[in-house]
Structures are given as C-alpha cells and as structure tokens.
C-alpha cells in the first residue's frame, strides 16, 4: 500500500510538471500558429481573386465563406471546402464568381501520396500555379466533373476525383443555401 502511494505521488508529480510546461508552451506558440494560419488563408484569397479589394468572412448553415468585393460591388465568393482524399482530408478554398464559374482553387492542406496524389499541388517548372488546379478556372462549379472537364492525374484518379467532387458538392450546397 505504502509503495503504491509513492508510485502515485512520483507519477502524479511528473505529470503535473509536464502539464505546467505544456500549458506555458501552448500559450506562447498559440498566437503565432493562429497568425500563420490566417496569413496562409489571406494569401490564398489574394491569389484566387487578384482583382478583389476586400473580403468579408461569413458563414451560412455550417459553410464558411467570404464575400468578395471590388470597390463596393460583390464580384464573387471564396468558399472553404474540405473533402476526403486518398490518405486523409484535403482542405481548400474555392473561388467562384456570382454565376458559379470557378475563378481559382487553392489547396491549403493535403496528405496525398508523394509523387502520385500529391501532384494535385505540383507546380511545373516555370509555372506559378499547380497545373492540375489551373484546369478548373473558367469551368462551371455546378457541373464540373473528372474526365469531362478535368483531366485526372495519371495514377491518382482518387485524389483528382476527390478535389473535383469536393468543389462540385460544396459549391452546389452553398448556392442552394444562399438563394
């Protein structure tokens, strides 16, 4: 019994010290982590909608999006979308104009296989944007489909389809809700 109490005290003390150290680290790093995420998103918005002057964050029935303004006119929306890829989720921002035509897509987070699925974000030599995502620009988000509008990446049909379906599904859901 005595021994058991000693075990408990030692282990408890170590855990307490660990908790304290972690709480301090968390508080120190949290503002920095949040700032990084925010900056990443802002950069994404600007690349998708280069003519926009301002973005206003909104949310409708669980879908988070941004109203995109040029001067005072609403020129489109940037919608946050998450879909299931081959290895994990794929998090992205989809930019559409008011008619539902895709202006641009930026993938923020993905865990696809390097060399195969991860080529959805591969940038070819001399290019600025990933070649796979460039295909989406100008297509209607409501009907976009792999094979018909989008060439899938060789050996990565699941990842290609995941991106396309997520764009299609999220935008359709968004458009029905906003009307």
């Amino acid at each position: 019994m005595n021994q058991l109490v000693r075990f408990g005290i030692v282990l408890g003390f170590i855990c307490l010290a660990a908790t304290f150290v972690l709480a301090v680290t968390y508080e120190i790093t949290k503002p920095r982590i949040d700032a990084e995420l925010k900056k990443e998103e802002e950069d994404a918005l600007k690349t998708i909608m280069p003519d926009a002057d301002s973005f206003k964050e909104k949310s409708i029935e669980g879908i988070k999006y941004f109203d995109v303004f040029k001067k005072d006119d609403l020129i489109g929306y940037c919608i946050r979308a998450t879909g299931n890829g081959y290895n994990g989720y794929i998090r992205m921002i989809v930019g559409i104009d008011t008619d539902g035509i895709i202006k641009g897509i930026k993938i923020l987070e993905q865990y696809e296989t390097p060399g195969l699925g991860a080529r959805i974000v591969e940038i070819k030599r001399g290019d600025k944007e990933p070649h796979f995502l460039k295909q989406f620009v100008g297509k209607s988000a409501k009907t976009v489909e792999v094979k018909k509008d989008i060439d899938a990446i060789t050996g990565a049909t699941i990842s290609s389809k995941a991106v396309t379906d997520t764009v299609n599904k999220t935008v359709n859901e968004f458009l029905t809700k906003i009307k």
């Binding site: 030692v10 170590i14 150290v21 680290t25 990084e36 390097p114 060399g115 195969l116 050996g155």
Partner: protein, 204 residues
Amino acid sequence: MNKANIGQKLLLGEFIKGLWRENPTFRIVLGLCPTLAVSTSITNGIGMGIAATFVLLGSNIFVSLIRNIVPEKVRIPCYIVVIATFVTIVDLFMKAFTPLLSRSLGMFVPLIVVNCIVLGRAEVFSSKEPPLKSILDALGMGLGFTWALILISTIREFLGNGTILGFYVSKTFEPALFMILAPGALLTIGILIGLLNYFTIKRK
C-alpha cells in the same frame, strides 16, 4: 591529468558511438517506421532528424535527472510522460515557426513519442547514467539518426523525384516513382545496411 584524459575520452566515446558503431538506423535498426515514412525528401529528412534529436536531448536529460526518484515499476509511464511533453513542445514550435515543414512531416512529429530510439535510449542509457553522459549520448544518437535520414532521403529524392533539395538535377533523367513510395524506402535501407555490413566485416 591522465585520469582526466581518460574521462574525456570516455565522454567522447558516448558521443561518437551513435554516429557509427551503434548508429540507430543502420546498426541497432530502431525507429524504422518514421525513417520509411519521411525520407521522401531531404528537407523532410533533416526536419525529422532535428526534431527527433531535440526530443532525445530533452528526454535523456530529464530521465537522467529523475533516475533516482523514479521507482522501477512505474518507470515506463514516467519516461513516456517526459518524452510526450518534449514531443508536444517540438510539434507546437514547428507549427508556429516552420508551418510548411510541420505540414509535410504531418502526423510523424507527434509520432516521435513512440519512436523506439527515444524510449530505447531512456531505458538502456539515461536511466542509468548521469546527465552529462546522457546529453552526449542523445546528441550522438540524434546526429546518427539525422545523417542516416539525410543519406536515405537523398537517394530516394533523387531516384524517385529527380530532384535534390527540391531542385531538378537533370533534364533527361526519368525518375522511378516507386523509389519515393514505401518499397523504395525498404530497398534503400536494406541495400545500405547490406553494403555497410559487407565492407565492415571484410575489413576484419
């Protein structure tokens, strides 16, 4: 004077052994899971190596400091708490200061907790040795792990992706995709261990 010299030599030995004679990847063959997974690019390899070295250093120091108060029977939970604390610190700092690297290493930073190199060193070394020796042991093992990762990832990144540190090396070289997938890692590690054994045994 002589005694001090021998002491220094012993300390140096604790550091050197991790680099070659007891190299965690090629000799003890521990921590293969993260090695297989993250050695797809040199940046990942270096990042993982540094992260693991930091965790090793932290856990070795603390395990060594508390070695006399931790009861034998609950030592594993105690070590795991210490290791997990350092892993979480590394993870949070990487997210804050190197978000891109943190993203490409993904799940494997939190998984350093179960990296057998770290628990292995706590169990066989720092739980029995004083802090200074444990620090040298951690640095040696960490650097040994890091150079092994860099070697493996250089081979895999070049053969599998045609790049070195992200730069294209040759325009005509067509990379073999499978080198960047799991089988490529197993082959690379197997051949490297084989070569090392072949040459070291022959020399004797």
